[in-house]
Amino acid sequence: MRIMRYIKWKLPVVACCVMLTACGDFFDVDPIDGASPDDFYTNNSELNSVAYGMYAPLSPEVHKLFLWGSARADLVTEGETKDVYVSEFINNTVSTLNPYTDYGFLYKSIARCNHQLKNLPRMQPNGDKVTATRLKIFYGEAYFLRAWCYFQLVRTFGQVPLVLEEVADDVTFEDEKGNIVKMNTITMTDEELRAVVLQPAQEQEVWKAIMSDLAKARVLINGTSYALGFAPPAEEPLIRASWIGAYALSAEVALWNGLYQEASAYAEFFIKQGKLGAASTWPQQYTTTAAASATTYNSFGFMYVFEQGFRTQRLQEFTSPIEADGGRYLVKPKMTVCSQLFNEPLDIRSKVSYMRVNRKDVIWKYIGLDEEGKSMRKPYESIANWYILKHADVYLIRGIAENELGNTGAALEMLNVVRVARGLQKYKRDDIALDKANMKEQLFKEKAREDAFEGKRWYDLLLRETRLGESGIIARTVSAKYDDENQKNEVYSRLSNPANWYLPIEPERWK
């Protein structure tokens, strides 16, 4: 009877207790729509996945780079459809309401670079899992991309928060009493986060961080080929950090910091490795999306693919006049300025950069498939490549640096290399005045032709205005795109104020 009672009452209780304690695994469910970071950092392929994730926020947002760097300058004007926020860039009246000022995509990328840098030490070189060289390249890649993001930020916004540690999970900081405190990030208020990690840094501090990152990148991404130290897919030299890309960016950054010797040296190093590509195939980097032509002329940029997940950009929407193609025709080339710039009939670049199609002036680089203005991309397939670091720019940067150092002859040599590569005649010493000012003018003109509508023109003007001693050049150049005198004067006076050279932002608005 006792046994029966035991069985009746105690057995179920014991069984329950056993079940309660034994079901640890039962409640341990792995979500399928995510992978555990704890399981990562064991082989090359996982590191690669995290690396791709670092670039992912950037490529869909290149229309912002277009607005920041091209729309504000002299070659671009309003299209036939008005979008007030686009017009604000064209007219340099950008307000904090403007959604295209949202720089969150760059900080997403920075956060992911910081994540990679924090976690890479978990991985040691391990035979066939990952080689020591490969591991170094992963470090270098994160430094390179973080540097590029800050380079973009500091030139566009001036003072920006400098985040160089991963802060997604927790934030470590020193409190008022001097104690080191660690707090869970998602439990902190915006004010707390702004106070301890997101204080805007001095511009000089940001530049220092960029140069420090690039110094590491140049050493870590060390390879004899385009870059990655292994046999990469054809497009990887373009869409990822590379050795020469690190040198190209270093040259530009050095130029911005007045370090002309360094700028020239980095560029020279690049020039030894790289090549400039032939004039005859130059248009193909725009009329096709082929990796071969893209990597012939550029060392960093973004590529797109429509038929696998619609990974596209929005430049067709901004520049195409054809509604059925998803075009809104918000921007178009300023023809008077363009025709003055592209004043040599043989220049192949003028045909591909802009075009008159069906009685409309259009920026052709993002919609065209030929050099005659006949064939365009299919509706909604906005997949033209976007180039960031261009081989020709490195030659011109070296020219600019040499010119600043007083070596006008060396500068002319660089200029001529680019001209010849684009099918133009060399400038002879007699053709142009060989003074520093004129040489600078010629170098930047060449750069403008090479980079037209690619998000660089504004920064070139800013560089000249703030670093190369050409006071008033922004106001002069940009106001020249207005035919109306009143507008011209208004813009001139607005851009004479240095405060208007940087975009305003209210980060809280874009949360």
Partner: protein
């Protein structure tokens, strides 16, 4: 409340009526159960009967509203589609808001937890329940009872019991029902001449010269292709048909009971080509293996198939919208240049618009479902005071949907010329549960009842979806024929759960009842600090008066319930996919949140139930207050942190109201019985706090909000204060700083900054009713019975998106006749309802605004049913009873709403309720039935 009345109905109207002896026996059994139920729990058990099953013949849930206070439903005429079921308000912004249905203890979701397959298409998961199989139903609204359902009970629970075998000779019931449905869905549209004039103006406004337009054959009525007068929506309507065949065999002896039932139901919608068919089969076998041990088995299989169209806001595929927007001077048939009609459907027209007939004929959208349920249960009567039971149940539900859109006659949608999509969805549940019960006396007048139990649930949901586009030919329907993959997705969600139950009650002289329920739940949906959750409640009931025929009971209850339906693995640090070029990357998407918990609802109920004047009057009145705390919402961090928004518990919402049920039974004679009943429920919903800010969701031109101080899901937009007649009147600019034009809507500038932007949005309506319910009557005289039910809803708004879309004047679509009175110029300002026409709506006149908010209050004659039991004086041998019946639904509706039907359903998202996308309305139905018992 109405138990007696229900018993009465069961007895006289139940399917088994002809077998009088058997019916009585069952009635006695049920009366006992019912008495216990009245004493032990407050929610009323609803005895199912033929009247009820006929009201909800399409799907059981379509007949829920009206008789039971606190239950609000809204359905459209889309056959087989889920609808809105709301029990005592809405408690969540981001989680499931529909009640779970427990069928013989087996939980089922109302609809798959995946978005609509095509817009507005959300096939009901509850088609596996054949209304004719149901014996009783209980809508569990109060928090105290729902404690035992823990984290699944945040939205209330519907329990139902399915028929089983009984002792007695084998009986066979056969039922056949056939009928038809019709509905009016005829928007008022411009005719050919009016439309042609409108089109002319739209095209000349876009810059076409008079010369170009004169050359354009569209404006030449003598052209054979453009000389028609077609009312396109009329081409799509039809009489819906309903047919249903049902057979049930049951019987048993003292030790073994069995039941087998099979039903086939077919419905076709009032919209051409849309239909839903189901086969439901159940088999159950109960047997005693010893005097104290009973084993029960159940096996059920359900099959369903359907054909559908997207009747939602994807306007390019909504057949009704496509037809309304089509040029009326065109024909569905193709005409040659010589004017000869060719026997083939016309293609996409010169305006780039779809041929609605080609859309209906060409779209090949189908669904298929299979569901298998099995259950084994053992009941052990240990002694007179103690019993135990244990059960294991397995349920597998699989649903496959496909969509194929050919190119012929259908306009291209961006890059999509043709498309094929397929989705497979499955739910698997294994549930194990054991309970021990002990009851007895503590003192002579004090009895107790105690339960302890444990259950384990293993649930898995899987979905795989693929869409490929632009196959080489219309004939190529399979996914692999597409030129490229448009989208691919697969998800899997696993949820393991354990519950430990303790519940008990004390009863003193049948006057005072005290009860307490505890449910300790562990769920795999949460991290370390949120995994264990205690749901607990208590109640007190006091019979203030109790005589042989009258009683008055007061009660008060508290219970905490929850909503644990959180997907996404927020308890874990997770990498999420991030695509770059053709490569797959990852990034840190979730940071670990161990604090995340279910959304808890604190439920307070108090009220009175009474039967007075010798059963003449039955009344129940109660007040409920439900506060849901810890709403799961997204927290956005500063953008420089670079992290996606993360979920956390941060927000409260309150639902409260009064529910009153009333029944009067003026005549209670043997041959003649008459009763009248009515229910009314009020609902006041308010979002009390949302620390992460308002939550705004948009669907097409519609926007809704969850905002502190407002009702959850309130419509959010602008108020139109008139139309600008002259430039001088305009003192505001658009959000982007550009200028309005005369003829634009004058939107209210609530912050007075002379700029119309997001800051000027305000709450302009709410889909939540102020009060709702039903009333009706039941009358029986000998074998003849009559029942009527009216339902009503008051104070709910409807956003008439369909009407807005047909008034936008922003492209070349045909429009509602309202546009004939639009603003044209200061001299011709129209009737003040519509602004100027403007291609592309550059002034955003047609953003969400109060112009499209209408009062959705209605009173509806939901159902009238007449049944007659044919007298069987000389029983014809094997035929034991015959009944004929007629049931009509939705015969009459009183409403000021201008759309097809004030009862609209636009999705289960609590922020997308009350939107009319022009789905077909609930039809009038006329169903004739014949039941024969053998």
């Amino acid at each position: 409340m109405f138990n007696k009345y229900k018993i009465f109905f069961f007895c006289f109207l139940g399917l088994n009526v002809p077998r009088l002896a058997l019916a009585q026996e069952e009635t006695e059994e049920r009366a006992d159960t019912t008495k216990q139920a009245v004493l032990a729990v407050s929610p009323k058990e609803k005895e199912w009967n033929d009247i009820y099953s006929m009201r909800s013949m399409f799907l059981f849930d379509r007949g829920l509203m009206g008789e039971e206070a606190g239950v609000y439903t809204a359905y459209n005429g889309f056959v087989g589609n889920a609808g809105l079921m709301m029990i005592r308000g809405v408690t969540s912004v981001n989680l499931n808001t529909s009640p779970y249905v427990f069928v013989d203890g087996l939980p089922a979701r109302q609809a798959p937890n995946v978005g609509p397959f095509a817009s507005g298409v959300l096939h009901s998961n509850l088609t596996f329940i054949n209304p004719l199989d149901i014996v009783s139903m209980r809508i569990v609204k109060d928090g105290y009872s729902n404690v035992l359902y823990g984290g699944r009970a945040g939205n209330g629970i519907i329990e139902m019991e399915i028929d089983k075998g009984t002792t007695g000779t084998a009986t066979i019931d056969a039922a056949v029902r056939v009928g038809f449905m019709d509905a009016d869905f005829e928007p008022s549209l411009m005719n050919a001449a009016e439309y042609r004039a409108y089109l002319y103006q739209m095209m000349s406004d876009r810059g076409y010269s008079a010369g170009e337009l004169q050359q354009n054959p569209l404006f030449d009525p003598s052209q054979p292709a453009y000389s028609h007068e077609t009312y396109w929506p009329g081409e799509l309507s039809q009489k819906g048909l309903f047919s249903d065949v049902y057979l049930k065999m049951k019987g048993g002896d003292g030790d073994t009971h069995y039941l087998f039932s099979i039903g086939y139901t077919s419905e076709s919608e009032v919209l051409k080509e849309v239909k839903d068919q189901r086969i439901n089969m159940r088999f159950n076998l109960d047997f005693k293996i010893s005097p104290k041990v009973k084993i029960s088995n159940l096996f059920a299989y359900n099959y369903g198939n359907n054909r559908f169209f997207g009747e939602g806001s994807n306007w390019k595929q909504n057949p009704l919208f496509v037809s309304a927007a089509k040029a009326p001077f065109m024909s569905k048939d193709y005409y040659s240049a010589e004017g000869i009609k060719v026997e083939q459907l016309a293609g996409v027209d010169a305006l780039g618009m779809t041929n609605p007939a080609a859309l209906v004929e060409g779209l090949n959208n189908k669904g298929l479902s299979n569901k298998v349920d099995a259950l084994i249960r053992g009941d052990w009567t240990i002694n007179s005071k103690t019993s135990a039971n244990a059960e294991v149940m397995v349920s597998y539900n699989s649903m496959t949907e496909k969509l194929h859109q050919p190119a012929e006659g259908i306009a291209m949608d961006r890059y999509i010329e043709r498309q094929s999509a397929k989705r497979s969805y499955s739910e698997y549940l294994m549930r194990w549960k054991a309970l021990v019960n002990r009851h007895g006396n503590i003192l002579e007048d004090l009895t107790y009842n105690a339960n302890a139990g444990l259950s384990m649930d293993m649930y898995e949901e899987k979905m795989i979806f693929g869409r490929t586009v632009n196959a080489a030919s219309d004939e190529m329907e399979s996914l692999d024929k597409g030129k490229f993959v448009d989208s691919l997705a697969n998800t899997r969600y696993e949820h393991n759960m354990m519950n430990v139950y303790l519940s008990g009650g004390l009863n003193w002289r049948n006057k005072l009842n005290l009860g307490a329920n505890f449910n300790l739940e562990r769920s795999s949906n949460f991290g370390a600090d949120g995994a264990w959750n205690l749901y607990a409640g208590a109640e007190v009931r006091w019979k203030a008066l109790q005589t042989a025929s009258e009683w008055v009971e007061l009660f008060g209850q508290y219970g905490r319930t929850g909503n644990n339906d959180v997907r996404g693995g927020y308890y874990a640090r997770l990498y999420k996919p991030a695509a770059y070029y053709i490569y797959g990357g990852v990034y840190l998407g979730n940071v670990r949140n161990d604090d995340l918990k279910p959304e808890y609802t604190h439920n307070y109920d108090a009220g009175v139930n009474a039967a007075l004047f010798g059963n003449l009057l039955e009344v129940g009145a109660s007040y409920y207050y439900r506060k849901t705390v810890g709403l799961i919402t997204q927290k956005s961090l500063p953008i420089e942190i670079g992290l996606d928004p993360q979920y956390e518990n941060n927000g409260d919402v309150v639902n409260q109201g009064v529910e009153v049920s009333l029944a009067v039974n003026p005549i209670q004679k043997n041959d003649l019985k008459w009763s009248i009943f009515a229910t009314i429920s009020t609902l006041k919903n308010e979002v009390k706090s949302l620390k992460n800010g308002e939550i705004v969701r948009t669907m097409d031109q519609f926007t809704a909000v969850a905002k502190e101080g407002e009702e959850l899901g309130a419509f959010y937009g602008y108020k139109v204060k008139g139309i600008y007649n002259t430039k001088a009147e305009i003192d505001v600019v658009k959000s982007d700083g550009s200028e309005y034009q005369p003829g634009d809507y004058k939107m209210e500038d609530i912050n007075g900054d002379h700029k119309i932007n997001g800051l000027d949005r305000q709450v302009i309506g709410s889909p939540i009713p102020e009060f709702y319910g039903g009333f009706g009557t039941n009358l029986t005289w000998k074998g003849l019975s009559f029942a009527a039910l009216f339902t009503y809803s008051y104070g709910n708004d409807v956003y008439n998106l369909f009407r807005q879309r047909l008034s936008m004047m922003s492209d070349y679509s045909n429009q509602s006749r309202d546009v004939l009175n639009r603003w044209v110029s200061a001299e011709q300002p129209g009737n003040g309802w519509l602004p100027r026409s403007a291609y592309g709506d550059p002034s955003n006149n047609f953003v969400t605004s109060d112009r499209w908010v209408e009062d959705g209050s209605y009173l509806r004659l939901k159902s009238i049913a007449v049944q007659y039991d044919v007298p069987m004086k000389n029983r014809m041998g094997f035929i034991k009873g015959v009944r004929v019946s007629v049931n009509c639904n939705n015969l009459w509706t009183l409403s000021g709403y201008s759309g097809f039907d004030p009862e609209v359903f636009s999705g289960l998202d609590p922020l997308m309720r009350g939107v009319d996308c022009g789905a077909t309305p609930s039809p009038r139905s006329y169903i004739f039935g014949l039941n024969v018992s053998f």
